[in-house]
C-alpha cells in the first residue's frame, strides 16, 4: 500500500473533514433545538397535541436517511412552486439540503430519546414537585427536564455517533465531505484501500472525540449513579 498519495492529498481530506464537522455540529444543534418542543408535545396527555409529533418521529425513524436526503435534494425540484419561490436558493444547494435532512432526522431520534427519558421520570420526583406547589411549567423546568436530560446523555451520545456516520451520506449528493474527498482520491488514483482506510481513520478519530466528550459529560452529570 502506498500512502504517499494520501499524504499529498491531505489538504483535500482536511477540507473534507471540516465540511463533515460543520454538517455534524450544525445538524446536531438544530436537531436538539427542534427535539425539545417535539418531545414535550409527544409526551403530552392530550391526543391532538401528541399525534403530529408522534407521526413525525415515526416517519423519520422508520425510513432511511438516504431516502430523506433524496426526497429533499432531488424530490423537491419536482414542484414548480418550490423552484419558483425564494426557497429555491436553499433547495438547489446540496449542502443545505443535506443539512436540512440531517437536522430533521436527528431531531426525530433525539425527540424519541428525550420522550423516553421524560416518561421514565420516577413518580416520586413529580409528586414531590407537586407537593411543593409547583405549576406544571415550573415542574418541567426544575424537576422533569433536568433529570430527563441527564438520563438521556448515554443514548444521545450514541445518536451523535450515528449522526457522524450519517454525514458520510452527504458525499453521495456531490458534497466533498470526508467521504467525498476519499471518493475523489479513489477515482483519481484508483487507490480504494488507501483512500477509504484513511477516511475511516479520520472518522474513527472524530468518533473517539465524541466518545471521550460523552464520557466526561456522563462523569459530570451522572455522578450520582456511580457507586
Amino acid at each position: 500500500m502506498d500512502f504517499a498519495v494520501i499524504y499529498n492529498n491531505l489538504p483535500l481530506y482536511f477540507s473534507g473533514m471540516w465540511i463533515t464537522i460543520q454538517l455534524l455540529v450544525l445538524s446536531l444543534v438544530a436537531g436538539l433545538t427542534l427535539a425539545f418542543p417535539l418531545a414535550l408535545m409527544a409526551s403530552s396527555k392530550n391526543f391532538w397535541l401528541r399525534v403530529l409529533p408522534k407521526t413525525y418521529i415515526y416517519c423519520f425513524r422508520g425510513t432511511p436517511l438516504l431516502v430523506q436526503i433524496f426526497l429533499i435534494y432531488h424530490g423537491l425540484a419536482q414542484f414548480d412552486a418550490v423552484r419558483e419561490s425564494f426557497l429555491w436558493i436553499i433547495f438547489r444547494e446540496a449542502y443545505w439540503c443535506a443539512l436540512i435532512a440531517f437536522a430533521l432526522n436527528t431531531a426525530a431520534y433525539t425527540a424519541e430519546i428525550l420522550r423516553g427519558s421524560i416518561a421514565q421520570t420516577s413518580a416520586g420526583e413529580i409528586e414531590a414537585g407537586r407537593a411543593y406547589g409547583m405549576s406544571n411549567r415550573i415542574l418541567y423546568l426544575r424537576v422533569i427536564l433536568p433529570s430527563a436530560c441527564r438520563r438521556a446523555i448515554p443514548a444521545y451520545g450514541n445518536e451523535m455517533i450515528f449522526m457522524l456516520h450519517g454525514t458520510a451520506l452527504a458525499g453521495v449528493i456531490t458534497i466533498v465531505d470526508l467521504f467525498g474527498a476519499a471518493k475523489i482520491v479513489n477515482s483519481r488514483y484508483f487507490v480504494p484501500f488507501e483512500s477509504f482506510i484513511s477516511a475511516g481513520f479520520f472518522y474513527l478519530c472524530l468518533s473517539f472525540l465524541i466518545i471521550t466528550g460523552v464520557k466526561y459529560a456522563e462523569r459530570h452529570w451522572l455522578r450520582y449513579l456511580k457507586v
Binding site: 415515526y58 438516504l66 432531488h74 424530490g75 458520510a168 471518493k183 484501500f193 477509504f196 474513527l204
Partner: protein, 227 residues
Amino acid sequence: MNLYGYLPLILRGMVLTVEVAVLSLLIAMILGLLGAAAKLSDSRLAQRIAGVYTTLIRGIPDLVLMTLIFFGGQIIINNIGDQLGWDYVDVSPFVAGVLTIGFIFGAYMTETFRGGILAVDHGEIDAGKAFGMSSRQVFFRITMPAMARHALPGFGNNWLVLVKTTALVSVIGLQDMLYNAGLAAGATRKPFTFYLVVALLFLLITAVSDLGLRWLNRRYSVGIRKV
C-alpha cells in the same frame, strides 16, 4: 395507481431489499454469537480481537466500510485470483452489500448477545452443569433459549436499523428499491413521488417487522411473571 408503469420495477427492488436484509441478518447473527462468545471467553486474545472489531465498526461509517469492501475486495480477490490463475472476478454489489451489512451488524449483535448472555441467571447454567451437560450442551440447551428473551429488544432494534441501512447498497449500484426509484424518477421527472413511495414501503417493512417482533416477544416471555 400504477406509478406510470414503474410499480413492478419498484416492487422487484423491494424484494431485493428484503433479501439483502435477511441474508445480512443471518451473517450478523453468526458473527454476533461468535463475537459475544469471544468477549465472554477466558482467552485474552479472543477478547482483544472482538474488542477491536466492535470498536472499529462503531467508529467508522457504514458507507465508508461498504465502499472499502466493494472496491477493495475486488482488488484482493483478483490478486489472489492471479496467483491461482483464475479469470478476472467481478465482486457483485449484492455480495459486497450483504457481507458489509452483515459484518457491521455483527458488531452490534455482539453487544446485544453479550448483554443477553450476561443477563441469564447463573443458577440455570450451574444446574445444567450439575446435570452433567457438556459446555456445548449448556450453551445450546440453556443459555441460548434463556438469552433470547433478554436479547430480543436489542435484536429488534438492530434489525430495524439494518433494514434502513440496506438503502446504502443502491450507492454501490445494486438495484434495490431506492436505485430503481432513482431510475423511475429520472425517466418520469417525478422524483418526489417515487422517493415518497420508497419511504412508504420502508415504513411498511418496519411496521410488519414490529408486529413480528411483538409476537416473538410474547412467545419468549411465556412463563415470565408479570407484575
